[in-house]
Amino acid sequence: MVDYMTQESEWEPKLLGFLCKWCSYAGADLAGTSRKKYPANIRVIRVPCSGRVDPLFILKALRLGFDGVLVSGCHPGDCHYQTGNYYARRRMAITKKFLEYMGIEPQRIQASWVSASEGEKFTEVVTEVTKALKETGPNRLFTDERRRNATKTTE
């Protein structure tokens, strides 16, 4: 098994995680306090609910250069706000499929249900997603081959 912590390989994928405060973020915290190891590729943004995540955030993250985005929330039925994760589920389904139609690799957009007690699951999710991103390769979607996006010429 490749040990991500020692960073032997050159490029490490950058993963942005939107974790819902009540479940997934707590689950990640549990993984930490339980001293479980998981790849350090993930950067976490805490949101009050997975339903807060607008597809705009996901696309903006890819635009900024993140190699992948993970949205994680409470299991259906367990949402702190009753229904937020149901809206997220619908939204994530079309986001994932639509961006795949555009030509973005589907592995770059990930979703998971992680509850506050699922520290172990959180480490598994991050490990699997990081692995998938490593295989997918660096995100060059929004880079420009020209030096700068400067003067939009008439060409």
């Binding site: 900024l64 700068r148 996006n149 400067a150 003067t151 939009k152 010429t153 008439t154 060409e155």
Partner: protein, 351 residues
Amino acid sequence: MKKVTDSKKISKKNIAKLLDEWRQEFTVLVPWRDETVAKWARWDGKDTSFLDWYRNTVVPPKAIFFPPMEEMFSFQKDREGYHLELPASDESKQLIFGIRPCDAKALAVLNMTFSDAYEDPYYLAKRNGGVLVGLGCTNPYDSCFCTSLDSSPTDSANVDLMLTDIGDDFLVEAITDKGKALMAKTSLAEAVTRADEARAKDVKETTYAKVTKKIDTEGIKEKLLSGFDNKDLWEKIAAKCISCGICTFLCPTCYCFDINDELVKNQGERFRSWDSCAFPLYTKMPMENPRVEKWRRLRQKVCHKYVFYPMNFDVIACTGCGRCIRLCPVNWDITQTLDNLSAEAQVKMEK
């Protein structure tokens, strides 16, 4: 006494050669199109088929000197502060081949704006190195109305060289010293016969008559101002507008722009990009937005062109190219609006 003409002529078959000669000294820009849009682009060195299809482009030649987006400078931020870096200046001289009289006049209007109290370095650096080779129309659109605005489809007033289509050849007139210099260098120019001159005169008259859309600009300033506060009329006029930016972006005389900075980590760029007075947020300020209502924005757009700009620069900021009419998604037509407002003003005056 009949003056011997300075005009020459160039065979259409020699245009590719001529452009090639010019290409040694200039970046040559010509009308270009694909299945999606007609605009201006760098000449590829061989294709002159634009001579067959070209009536006018969708994106006007203002985009050459005043592009939809432009980097003003880039900057780095560190502990000592900001370090600015100007973009590499484009030393090349550009030759615009085939600009229509309406678009050339529009560039003259833009020049007034960009060299007024503040001389815009980005625009002027490109414009001053630019040479305009005008091409008179033979097939105006039904939406053209240049003849109502002190111009014509074959007007040579604002270019360096003027071409008139006389069949197998172009009649070439040198208008400015830049133009004379260009003609002096080429060996492709032939002498002009009396028949050629007669043909050119005929083409100019015939094409002039083909422009069917007309507006009456007599006293237009006063007429528009007299109806300025007529909210009901302006609301009716503006009702179908959707406040997009098509008319202003594709207008060859419109020049409004926005400036935005982008800072990512410690690097950034300052951009200038096209803006439109038709957008609802155009006049938004922290305290208020004086043009929240669509009719105010439309009134502003019309009056800017036909009242305020003439007050400042003695010229109507519209050259009758007709792009706004052709491309408006709801067929809002400025000539109809001007007619309505004129008629209203007439009624008011007679009361």
